[in-house]
Amino acid sequence: MVLIIKDEYPDKLFREDGKRLDGRDKNELRPIKMEVGVIKNADGSAYLEWGNNKIFAAVYGPREVHPHHLAKPDRGILRVFYRMATYSVFDRKRPAPGRREKEISMIISDCIEPVLFLELYPGTSFEVFIEVIDADGGTRCASTIVASLALADAGVPMKSLVTAVAVGKIDGEIVVDLSGIEDKAGDADLPLAITWFNNEISLLQFDGTMDAEEFDTCLTLGKEAAEKIYKIQLDTLRSKYISIQESVSEISNTSGGEE
């Protein structure tokens, strides 16, 4: 028996009380949880839970480039491998990297490259492996965040972290951080990434219809949301070392008391 499930989207993306289908306000982000140093054998790694998205990233490098013809004699290269697990989406995702994976890998590498000092590592590559375990809208933004965290955790010199967030239009209203269903059924989708060194926009994609005024609102709302996420990123990076500091001082305090 063949089971056919049609893609059906609700007519309305707002509830009667004015909130979104998952109960959020228009400017509210989904709950975010980040962690660094989760993969022991990688040079740097990070894990992100953003709403229903669950993403791992691992960084290796600088190391020799394979295949060798990709190596640049004057600078290093950043290679990003964005992959989705077969069970990450509703229909089984075919595991072979397709057009979408290649595009997302490219845009993540292009938007992180400006903050790295690749000219210091000629002939080598940094490799970022991003594995989406669970996907629910906005994985390209989430992957950018987790990749920049993993690079920072690996000790790669960076001008700043990179933060990304999607802003969009659903049922004629501008909302921040689109979920999977809002992304598919909504009117417009605008993922943007910000590098905090000089506050530059590093990624801007657009899909849908929107007028110029709405576009400006999107950018302002996007930046506000990105600032919130950036704080969480900084805290995550610090917490790895601060937790050790605290545990150490606790031990010394307790042992000192006993003596």
């Binding site: 903050v115 920072a152 960076m158 001008k159 060194f197 070392y241 050790i244 010394s252």
Partner: protein
């Protein structure tokens, strides 16, 4: 033993009592660019009104320079460094050695033996210890060598030598690896940590800048204790009062493990 020796290195963590604020990449260290200059691990932004950190590390103010000491990173070979290399490949012309840097280093046979100047006349004034220059029989793949970096830059492969004090092949012992930026902590202020570890565990230790540590003790119990202590130093490298804590740890563990 002939294997005594450690490398003295400018102590990067010397300001132990002063501020050791944890900073992350992109964090603004100061906006006071008139009184401070960007030092190691920092950069000025494009409008030149902020000093920004490049690493996850500890902020340190040295006179009017602001430095960031990274807590994690890769080893960059510098000419003159003494490092532990592992022979990974060889051919009749040279050895290829892993020195934990981004490139494999090369060791040529002419750099593995002392060249004695003798008078042979007619232009041949070097006698090569009865060895042909294209001979790479001295070491085999997998050997652990203490080497000195002769030349290193970001474009070419580093070149090594085994001629010099403390250099050459290491027989026996254990090699462990830690994060290269944490090596100064294992050495301690003017070698205090390493002296303490040596006297408490009766082990020979050779600490090198590429994050590898060679050690050999009287028995395996001491070696294990020392390895645990070194990993503890690595984990807690950014905390203060480390030497005292490690001393207490080693003494406690000695009692716990029943070794005197």
């Amino acid at each position: 033993m002939e294997d005594e020796g450690e490398i003295q290195e400018d102590d990067e963590f010397e300001d132990e009592e002063r501020s050791r604020e944890l900073v992350v990449p992109g964090e603004v260290l100061t906006e006071d660019v008139n009184n401070f200059l960007p030092g190691r691990g920092t950069i000025l932004n494009d409008t030149r009104d902020k000093i920004i950190s490049l690493h996850i590390g500890l902020k340190q103010i040295n006179k009017n320079y602001i430095n960031v000491i990274p807590l994690k990173g890769i080893y960059t070979p510098q000419p003159g460094d003494k490092v532990i290399a592992i022979v990974v490949d060889k051919n009749p012309v040279k050895y290829r050695c892993d020195i934990n840097a981004k490139d494999d280093a090369q060791l040529k046979p002419r750099n593995t033996e002392r060249r004695i100047k003798t008078r042979l006349g007619r232009g041949r004034d070097y006698q090569r210890d009865h060895r042909d220059e294209s001979n790479t029989d001295r070491f085999v793949i997998g050997d652990v060598l203490i080497v000195k970096v002769l030349s290193a830059d970001r474009l070419n492969k580093p070149e090594l030598t085994t001629v010099g004090k403390y250099l050459g092949k290491k027989n026996g012992g254990i090699v462990i690896s830690i994060d290269p930026p944490k090596i100064p902590r294992v050495i301690g202020r003017s070698g205090s940590m390493i002296k303490m570890l040596k006297s408490l565990t009766n082990c020979n230790i050779f600490v090198t800048q590429n994050g590898r540590i060679w050690l050999r003790g009287d028995n395996i119990a001491y070696e294990r204790l020392l390895i645990d202590a070194i990993y503890k130093i690595e984990r807690e490298a950014h905390t203060s009062g480390l030497t005292d804590r490690i001393q207490a740890f080693v003494k406690n563990e000695k009692i716990k493990r029943g070794i005197k």
